[in-house]
Symmetry: C2
């Protein structure tokens, strides 16, 4: 059975001499593959071993490159990567909110790599995935992994029925992007909280609810700006669909992947450069 999360009797920072020892610990069961996972279940563990020229490691944030398309001998990217098998597994982590164990090899080039052997770096969540042309010019799938910093769980008293377990709590530090509330509000006001795709404005009884969806994502590595020209007003369903590349938007503002029409507003200018970024990186 595939185990997600920490493995009993292991700790963040644990060192392993080789892949066999790492496999034996239960942290990363396969002895060769860099990704341990199934397309339907998700990925439980990855090993960073310097195999991909496109990986970027900022410690608590890692931009990880999917598998496939490399020449076995030269290790060079010679073909497009596909969103299948273990690449698809990592995408499922995002959809299910599943954590992935990360281990760094001494062969992985970063400030955080061990001098020799393998070091367990702890749990990361897959915040996002997208495709792009890698350094080689071929299409690669990339994943933004963000560390889940866990501290000892605080005790929580249980007042519910005894047969139910207590929900555990952990203090988690995240790099939260601070958005400008006014810009999101401005866009929602222009559209009267109606989804620009389906027209739904959820009436909560305490006013309407809609979401401000950034076209070129904020934060690393996309660095989309937090401006009204980069924001859409969407219902939660179409926000999820947009962020997962179910649909995208052409330069003439027609929808790609959906039959609906995008509702526009004269006051709300949308910049085409951001639409192009979304099409190239997110549309499947």
């Amino acid at each position: 059975m595939r185990v997600f999360g920490h493995i009993p009797d292991t700790e963040v920072g644990d060192m392993f001499e080789n892949r066999a020892a790492l496999a034996k610990s239960g942290i990363h069961p396969p002895t060769q593959a860099g990704i341990s996972g199934g397309a339907k279940e998700g990925a439980d563990s990855i090993v960073l071993s310097g195999g991909y020229e496109d990986d970027e490691d900022f410690g608590n944030v890692i931009i990880y490159t999917g598998a496939g398309g490399r020449d076995e001998n030269s290790n060079k990217q010679i073909a497009d990567q596909k969103l299948e098998r273990t690449n698809l597994a990592l995408a499922r982590n995002k959809l299910e909110g599943l954590p992935v164990r990360v281990t760094r090899s001494h062969k992985h080039q970063s400030h955080y790599s061990p001098v020799k052997g393998y070091q367990y770096a702890g749990l990361y969540r897959v915040e996002d995935y997208w495709c792009e042309r890698g350094l080689s010019g071929f299409k690669v799938w990339r994943y933004k992994l963000v560390q889940i910093d866990s501290e000892p769980a605080a005790e929580v008293q249980d007042t519910t029925k005894a047969r139910y377990e207590v929900t555990s709590r952990q203090a988690v530090t995240v790099n939260k992007i601070v958005r400008d509330y006014n810009k999101a509000k401005q866009v929602k006001d222009w559209h009267q909280y109606q989804c620009q795709v389906c027209g739904l404005a959820i009436d909560t009884g305490a006013g309407h609810y809609a979401e401000a969806a950034h076209i070129q994502p904020l934060g690393e590595p996309h660095r989309g700006p937090d401006v009204v020209e980069n924001i859409l007003c969407l219902c939660p369903n179409h926000h999820v669909m947009f962020d997962n590349g179910v649909f995208s938007i052409a330069d003439d503002f027609s929808l790609i992947g959906l039959d609906e029409q995008l509702t526009l507003n004269k006051k709300h200018k949308i910049e085409q450069a951001f639409l192009q970024y979304h099409r190239e990186h997110y549309f499947k």
Copy 2:
């Protein structure tokens, strides 16, 4: 103009001798009202002054009670509170993701209150709101406020066009409830990722997406258990509607507030005690 967020030249921990000084600082403009806000704009600031018997203060988490229904002389709750005016303003903070400034008065009974005067406690987000019978037996609106811990923003290099501002970042510590992935997955599998209200299963191209919605919420003060009997499989839209009390579910599993039918599954037992909790606290 109503200002959301920190006020320039003020800092968390700042002390003020009286309400006039606090108002002059810009932190809490009104000199009498406990909530500064408008029903359509949201609430920019509150003062905790011990007026409500139902308030609970855990420092970085505050369960705050809405305004109204009290006898002017005895300060006792003598009528139901309504979701209007400033109570509605605080609800909008949740819907818009707006921060609210919190100031504690020496009259507010908690470990965190100043010995005299008023102390600015910083920014909180309104994570949730609901209604319940208060200690007095009358209906009150309650709000779960969670502190936004801000640290100096890290510098982020901007590679986008120069005319756009850099998005700032802050390290934020949150008490994240650790959910059991397996239970959420189990419920979604039983329903094949189809929303139990509308039947939608969002196909992302990397598999289906649905959300596990807890009926009696996890965490303080609701303490709902993380068990399959307390979880529904919903699309994001119906998840938002359910969490905001647009609809609820009767003991016979018929929907209240929506015309649709709840799709049931023999394997998935839903416990009626949790449905009752949701109806009593969330349904409007």
